[in-house]
Symmetry: C2
Subunit: 251 residues, 2 copies
DNA sequence: CGTTAACTTGAATTTTGTCAATGCCTGTGG
DNA sequence: CCACAGGCATTGACAAAATTCAAGTTAACG
């Protein structure tokens, strides 16, 4: 089921937040923990499990999702290196977490994690900021799901992936898609067929090109941005990663 | 637009978090600030405004929303007494906030709010927990928007409103809907017509009854719960037909 | 290299949206 | 306090978008 391809599928995993981490970043909490590996498709935990641990993604991509009574799946997020999994302040996990690609994580007990956070006036605001970022992208996703059509959803998603690659703000035009069409569909609130048709249409119009199922290249970035439907193409909005935040938060 | 009816429309405002607040709750941060009032329909702030203040809702209901380039509106949440507005750790607000009903709030400067939180080891975890709650309901909303049909959305929403009324977990069967059909539509990712038709259908089947546009009564709670589609009551865990992967678990 | 899961493509169907007209609350002003 | 106006909601007919069902095709992995 989707294991490690020999292709650049993994290259994404190496990059990301590691380099941009502050001197004493959140990752430092985990740094003395051993690395654990999960094969593509394997679960880290299920919704309802005792929430005994918090994980830090070191390499690879995770999906977090919920399942409705009759089996419908909704993926609520994909997690990349630097992201934390399982921070919920609850006794039980609120969602399922599975590896999309082969994944490396570090594990920390929930209790000690909270202690560590609480004792460090330097880490606390970082965690807080991460939560706020998460909340902001959750809201963007609600806008997407509630008001965008299939094409706008796909374009928004591809641009999101494009933004992830670079640690600064530049979009890369070479986009790697680590997940399957089904994952995309369940994240975007569409069916697999609609995802496929929409991508085919984008290719047909020369807006993107494809090199294998998991690698696309954006050929008409301006068109993509317009099709993503956010309006303001060059908005100063979520420069997404760190540094755009208010400089308050003393301590 | 939608002002204070003489009906129990307001009663909801008084209840909520006030009673369940710990001795030194988050509200205490705001307690010395004067109460400000906003008329129904008036804005507290717009997306992009300098995020100079944090608000605590004291009475009434707010909507927070984003607008796409061509005018489509997506409401990402309704806020009730006890909720905080504008906690984003950003220089600018990320969304618009407007009064749905006449609203009373207390205002606090963002900077001092963060100071206060950071200095109090008692308040900190409360804020943290609030953020986690918010994240949890954002995820539920993503599930709703991504995988539920119109009827499931409406039923889920009405049950959500029903749950808000009581401070414990009991659902009230008398549900007050403080917002318009358009607000509901923009929150549920539907059109006003679909919302209307769906409610009409529920009434026609005797599942709910209506007393004016803003007050419904749940007559068949079990049916409502089933139609909401969460399949929550009896979950023998993995109903995951095709989604449960074999538990490999290498390393 | 062959098998099989993942993906694509097509046609029919369903759901929801759009447009348009009517009906009914709600709050205002008489 | 009541009547009335205008906004809000309902209803209907039609259109559009996305889903479903059903084959085919491709490419990933053993």
């Amino acid at each position: 089921m989707h294991s490690a391809s020999s292709l650049p599928r993994q290259t994404m995993s190496t990059s990301q937040t590691a380099a941009s981490q502050p001197a004493l970043g959140l990752a430092s909490v985990f740094s003395d923990k051993p690395i654990e590996q999960f094969a593509a498709g394997s679960p880290l935990f299920w919704e309802g499990d005792q929430a005994k641990h918090v994980f830090e993604v070191v390499e690879g991509v995770l999906r977090i999702f919920k399942i409705l009574g009759d089996g419908r799946r909704a993926i609520t997020g994909f997690l990349y290196p630097g992201d934390l999994v399982g921070v919920s302040m609850r006794a039980a996990y609120l969602y399922n977490a599975e590896a999309v690609t082969p994944v490396k994580v570090r594990r920390f007990s929930s209790v000690s994690f909270q202690e560590a956070i609480n004792l460090s006036p330097e880490l606390r605001p970082q965690l807080f900021a991460k939560l706020c970022d998460e909340m902001a992208s959750a809201q963007d996703q609600m806008v997407l799901l509630s008001r965008k059509n299939a094409e706008e959803r796909i374009c928004s998603f591809l641009l999101l992936l494009a933004k992830r690659v670079s640690r600064d703000n530049n979009l890369s035009t070479e986009v790697e898609i680590p997940m399957t069409r089904l994952d995309m569909a369940d994240y975007l609130g569409l069916t697999i067929e609609t995802v496929s048709r929409t991508i085919t249409s984008l290719i047909g119009r020369g807006i993107i090109t494809q090199a294998g199922r998991h690698d696309i290249s954006i050929k008409k970035l301006d068109t993509m941005l317009r099709l993503a439907g956010n309006g303001e193409v060059d908005e100063p909005r979520a420069s997404s990663r760190e540094y755009s935040r208010q400089a308050v938060w003393p301590s």
